[in-house]
């Protein structure tokens, strides 16, 4: 439709001469025009009806009196008087009097008087008088008088008078007068006058004037001006100005009323029952707080007091060291930080009942994982593979080339020293030992290593396994060249080899025999290592590899389970092998009196902290020789200390059981026996050698025992002055390839040319 009124144009002047008569009606031009109009209307209607309906429907004449109801024929002429209802034909002339209802046709001319309701078409001209409702068309010109309601389109020009509603366009210029409603665009400048409603963007700067409503973003700084309403974020700082309403978070501090400015107390509007209940809960809360506080203060105070009153520990039997002492104050020690660290260290170290508490802690740590089952393995520490997985082979396999990245400093582990830094050095050393890479090494095999085992992990280059219902701690062996050892022995041979027999009998660690096969790649064969080292020795030196011998006796308790040493039985077999090679008499084990120390939990527990070892103590079986002998103990400078009639330290027990032999490594021990074959034996050893000594009381006339780490005299002078006939080097695999062996060179060169005198009275 083009807006014409059915061909009639009331505004045009009639084209008749003044005073003329109409052709048909006679005298009345108005009637004539009306008649013509009706004819035109009828014609048009009929043609349109015919066109639209295909002539099926009878056309009906519409007059200005016609009243229409809903559902009527849409092709009707509309006149000024027509009243329309909903669902009417949109192709109708609209005038300024037209009243419109919802769902009207949008393609209509709008005038300034048009009143609109919801749902109107958006493509309409807007004037300044237009009143808009929600969901209106956004492509409209906005003026300063425009009033907006919710849901408006965002792409509109904004002026300083623009009032914005919710869901307003975010890309709008904001001025200081802008008022924002909920869901406003967050990337807007905020000023101190900005008023915010709920659900606004949280990433906004907050100033002291910001007023907040409920449900606002909690991550905001709170200042002293902040006013809070109910249900606000509980994790907020409360200040003395905070006013609280009902239903608020209970865990809040209450400021003392006296310091607040007195507000007139608001009448209590809560219903009476609810008020009673809340007061009751408040009271309960306060009372319980007092009870809880009392419990806390009592227990904490008691513990603090006990820590001070109870006697402090001085020695740790498990760690085999003396505990820290209170440092002395000096300005230097203070400014370097040593004094304060020393005081704290002293307090921590000398906790009363330290060993028991430590054991308790280790037992607790057992809850971290599954309980150990049969054939389960526990790794301790930083562990690396020693080489690729290898096929088990026969013992005494030809040794493959062994390479190592670094010498092991792990030989310190084979001796329990009263050293404060023991555990730290140990940890480092073991990490180093387990961490070296080796290629192409064949492990020795026996029935234990063939069992697949489940792994469980704990700490440092050590491994705790469960076999036959008992737990065993093993150190892993990474290998080494043993060059220093070979060099020292060769050098010794060059000097005294013509008069003296030199023997090399290194002692293997337990992992050689007891390591499960699926973990072979974390340790390397000690038998091959020994063979390799022995191949570097001068041919005149007698080399004994006792691994094959010991592997025949693995079913017997030849190694300690909870300690890194061997049991005296293992030492017996080693000593027997040596005695046979050295061609000296060797009494059978039946001539020895066995003794037993029960409840032995040794160094492997101290190193691993494994509660399995703690709760599975073993028996330490020692053998007292039937033969008679006397012993003299000297210090490491060969100054005489005392006589004794045996080689055993009676005070050893518990975790110290191994020091039953010779009382430890700090003495040179001379033993005179009843044997008279002119053979005098000098044993150069680490702690492994201690256990072999009693077994030689039936073999040699005199036995001297020196520790390779602690001797302060010259070895060659010692050999010459004491008229030694046999020198036996027996030490653990760690000492063989480790830095302890470096000390052998010192033994040969220190205090050279001195004379050693035996001052035993």
């Amino acid at each position: 439709m083009d807006g014409r009124y059915h061909g009639m144009d009331y505004r045009k002047k009639p084209r008749h001469a003044a005073g003329s008569q109409p052709p048909e009606t006679g005298g009345d031009w108005q009637a004539h025009y009306e008649q013509q109009a009706r004819a035109v209307v009828r014609r048009e209607w009929e043609s349109r009806a015919a066109a639209k309906l295909g002539g099926a429907e009878p056309p009906k004449p519409y007059t200005s009196q016609t009243r229409y109801t809903a559902g009527e024929e849409p092709l009707r002429p509309s006149t000024l008087q027509t009243r329309y209802t909903a669902e009417e034909e949109p192709l109708r002339p609209y005038t300024s009097q037209t009243r419109y209802t919802a769902e009207e046709e949008p393609l209509r001319p709008y005038t300034s008087q048009t009143r609109y309701t919801a749902g109107e078409e958006t493509l309409r001209p807007y004037t300044s008088q237009t009143r808009y409702t929600s969901e209106e068309e956004p492509l409209r010109p906005y003026t300063s008088q425009t009033r907006y309601t919710a849901g408006e389109e965002t792409l509109r020009p904004y002026t300083s008078q623009t009032r914005h509603t919710a869901e307003g366009e975010p890309l709008k210029p904001y001025t200081s007068q802008t008022r924002y409603t909920a869901e406003g665009e967050p990337l807007r400048p905020y000023t101190s006058q900005t008023r915010y409603t709920a659900e606004e963007e949280p990433l906004r700067p907050y100033t002291s004037q910001t007023r907040y409503t409920a449900e606002e973003e909690p991550l905001r700084p709170y200042t002293s001006q902040t006013r809070y309403t109910a249900e606000e974020e509980p994790l907020r700082p409360y200040t003395s100005q905070t006013r609280y309403t009902a239903g608020e978070e209970t865990l809040r501090p209450y400021a003392p009323q006296a310091q607040q400015p007195a507000d007139p107390p608001a009448p209590d509007e809560r219903p009476r029952a609810r008020r009673k209940k809340m007061d009751k809960r408040d009271l309960l809360e306060k009372r319980l707080s007092l009870v809880v506080l009392f419990i806390l203060t009592f227990s904490f105070g008691l513990t603090t007091l006990l820590m001070v009153i109870l006697p402090r520990s001085t020695v740790s039997k498990i760690e085999k060291r003396e505990l820290a002492v209170l440092p002395q104050f000096s300005l230097e020690s203070y400014f370097s930080g040593e004094f304060t660290a020393g005081v704290a260290n002293f307090y921590d170290d000398t906790v009363p009942m330290r060993d028991s508490l430590k054991n308790l802690g280790n037992n607790f740590k057992a809850v971290f994982g599954l309980p150990k089952s049969e054939d389960s393995v526990e790794f301790v520490g930083t562990v690396n593979k020693v080489g690729q997985k290898k096929e088990p082979s026969q013992p005494d396999a030809p040794s493959a080339p062994i390479s190592s990245q670094q010498e092991s400093s792990a030989s310190s582990v084979s001796q329990a020293e009263p050293d404060v830094q023991q555990t730290q050095a140990l940890a480092k050393a073991l990490a180093g030992a387990a961490g070296r890479r080796m290629d192409g090494v064949e492990p020795s095999v026996n029935k234990f290593t063939e069992q697949e085992a489940e792994g469980n992990m704990t700490e440092n280059g050590l491994i705790v396994i469960k076999q036959d219902g008992h737990f065993r701690g093993l150190e892993l062996f990474g290998g080494g060249s043993g060059d220093n050892y070979a060099q020292s022995l060769n050098s010794l041979y060059d000097q005294v080899g013509d008069r003296v027999s030199i023997w090399s009998m290194p002692a293997p660690l337990a992992c050689e025999f007891y390591l499960p096969s699926n973990f072979q790649e974390y340790s390397t064969s000690q038998s091959d290592c020994f063979d390799k080292v022995h191949s570097k020795l001068n041919k005149g030196i007698h080399a004994i590899n006792i691994c094959p011998v010991l592997s025949k006796h693995v079913d017997e308790p030849i190694y300690c389970r909870t300690d890194h040493h061997w049991q005296p039985l293992g030492a017996y077999y080693a000593a027997k092998t040596f005695a046979e090679a050295a061609d000296v008499p060797f009494p059978d084990i039946n001539t020895y009196t066995p003794g037993k120390m029960e409840g032995f939990v040794g160094s492997m527990y101290a190193y691993t902290g494994s509660s399995d070892l703690l709760n599975d103590p073993e028996d330490f079986v020692y053998y007292t020789p039937g033969a008679e002998y006397t012993s003299a103990y000297y210090d490491t400078s060969y100054e005489f200390q005392w006589d004794d009639d045996n080689l055993f330290a009676e005070g050893a027990s518990g975790s110290d059981a191994y020091s039953y032999y010779l009382g430890g490594d700090n003495y040179i021990v001379k033993t005179d026996t009843q044997v008279e074959n002119g053979r005098r034996l000098l044993i150069v050893k680490d702690s492994y050698g201690n256990a072999t000594v009693p077994f030689f009381t039936g073999s040699f006339e005199q036995i001297y025992v020196v520790d390779m780490r602690y001797l302060q005299r010259n070895l060659i002078s010692f050999i010459n002055d004491m008229e030694i006939t046999d020198v036996l080097f027996t030490m653990s695999a760690y000492s063989l390839v480790g830095s302890q062996a470096d000390n052998l060179e010192n033994l040969l060169t220190q205090n050279a040319g001195e004379t050693i005198v035996d001052k035993q009275p």
Partner: protein, 473 residues
């Protein structure tokens, strides 16, 4: 001094609490706290306690200048000077070696690398001072006129060494006016004990696992072993740091201070943006409020400020390239999520959101661990499985299985408690209508915490060193 130490728990803390409760007036209480805080800091840093005192004096003085000369050039100069000197101190003590090394690498000048020992906690109290100066300048807080009160804010020992970066606006009121109720003492103590338990029982033992596998060259480590260890490491960082924050918040509460939360169960997040709203909240909000909206680059270059913020986050964590990579890695994911838009992310299925965020976080912590970039590259080879081809590493090895079985309950307990389980239990008891349940809840809580404290103390007997992960800050 460290929190997880028998000396601190049973000597320092009882003495401090006793003196604090005996002091009657607020100035006396403040004095007690200042004295103990300075002793606390001087215990570990007998020399650099002067740095703390100097920094506090300087910033307090600058605050006064800002107040007096607001809206003139002098005020602006004061804040600029103060912030610059603070940042300079931090750079000198923390980053000088890093900068010189990189300069040498670039220009081959061969300058001597300074070996300055990092004073403990310098990153934390420097940022607190910067926040104070900027807040004064922007009139968010009132300038503190008394030096002792400002020193108390800066040196408060619960949050001095490793605690949340507490802003001055949070404690402004409480410095001058606070009270300690019975509830405060109880809740604070329980919170601190929970933090200690997180640190000593869980975090320390998780570190043992991490040290086992990542402690040496990881070239031969199996794929599953690397994944297992990096997951354990992520849990370790969370428990270590959130434990320390819990101790700080708990101890602060015992003295009447209410610090904001620093962690909100970050592993319950669904997107990376949400993760950073839950992790180290005090640092994230510091950068958001003081760096992100500073219009250095104009309003159209919003991604430049994003880059700057994440670069700074990475750099703050350490003076090494892997931390910077870590910061930018997370910055990239934030940018990626912003570009995708909130609506699209909302439409992702829940299971995918959780998996996606956890993967990003865990790999992020792998980047965080390896300071050596060579090892970092090896780490990526390991977790992607490429190490099976390149280094002939196995997919799975028995040590991983051994460690997993041996720590099954520890690791699964850590995963469970990293989710908001405790708050739900707490709410069940403490918000119930029944008085019996409420009382049972409170008594049960205190008995449980006493048990935890006993276990913590026993485990601490065995401690050789208890180094907190964020120690180098």
């Amino acid at each position: 001094m460290v929190f997880a130490d028998l000396f601190f728990i049973y000597v320092f803390l009882p003495l401090c609490l006793l003196c604090y409760l005996l002091a009657r007036s607020l100035p006396a209480k403040n004095g007690v706290l200042i004295a103990f805080s300075v002793i606390f800091y001087a215990w570990g840093e007998p020399l650099w306690v002067c740095l703390l005192l100097f920094s506090s004096f300087l910033n307090w003085f600058m605050g006064l200048v800002i107040e007096k000369h607001r809206d003139t050039g002098a005020g602006k100069a004061a804040v600029a000077t103060g912030v610059t000197i603070d940042i300079l101190l931090l750079v000198v003590f923390k980053y000088s070696a890093f900068l010189v090394e990189n300069l040498n690498a670039l220009t081959h000048l061969g300058l001597p690398v300074p070996q300055i020992r990092l004073p403990i906690g310098i990153s934390f109290f420097t940022f607190q001072a910067i926040s104070y100066l900027l807040d004064c300048y922007w009139e968010n807080v009132q300038v503190q006129k008394r030096y002792t009160r400002f020193l108390l804010y800066l040196s408060l020992f619960p949050q001095l060494i490793a605690g949340p970066i507490v802003r001055y606006s949070v404690v402004e009121e409480e410095i001058s006016n606070r009270s300690v109720t019975a509830t405060d003492l109880c809740e604070g103590a329980l919170r601190a004990i929970v933090g200690l338990a997180k640190k000593v029982i869980i975090a320390n033992n998780l570190w043992a696992i991490v040290d086992t596998f990542f402690g040496t060259d990881i070239t031969g480590l199996s794929v599953l072993g690397t994944w297992y260890t990096v997951i354990v490491y992520s849990l370790y960082v969370y428990f270590d740091f959130s434990g320390y924050s819990d101790i700080a918040i708990g101890l602060g509460r015992m003295f009447g201070f209410h610090f904001d939360e620093n962690f909100r169960h970050p592993f319950a997040c669904k997107t990376i943006a949400e993760f950073w709203q839950r992790w180290h909240i005090s640092l994230g909000s510091f950068f958001r409020d003081y760096l992100l909206y500073v219009p250095i680059f104009g309003q159209n270059r919003k991604y430049v400020s994003l880059f700057l913020v994440w670069f700074s986050t990475g750099v703050w964590h350490g003076a090494a390239w892997n931390y910077i990579i870590w910061g930018l890695y997370f910055g990239f994911f934030i940018f990626f999520e912003q570009k995708l838009g909130k609506k699209r992310i909302k439409n992702w299925p829940l299971w995918w959101k959780h998996i996606y965020s956890k993967l990003v976080i865990i790999i992020g912590f792998g980047i965080f661990y390896f300071e050596d970039l060579g090892q970092l590259g090896q780490f990526f080879l390991n977790i992607s499985g490429a190490s099976m081809l390149i280094n002939s590493a196995p997919f799975f090895d028995p040590i991983t299985w051994a460690s997993f079985l041996n720590n099954l309950f520890l690791v699964s307990g850590a995963i469970v408690f990293s989710l908001p389980v405790l708050p739900k239990i707490k709410a069940f008891f403490l918000e119930s209508k029944s008085d019996g349940l409420y009382a049972a809840g409170r008594i049960g809580a205190v008995l449980g915490c006493l048990g935890l404290l006993a276990i913590v103390s026993i485990l601490l007997v065995d401690s050789t060193n208890n180094v907190f992960l964020y120690w180098r800050f």
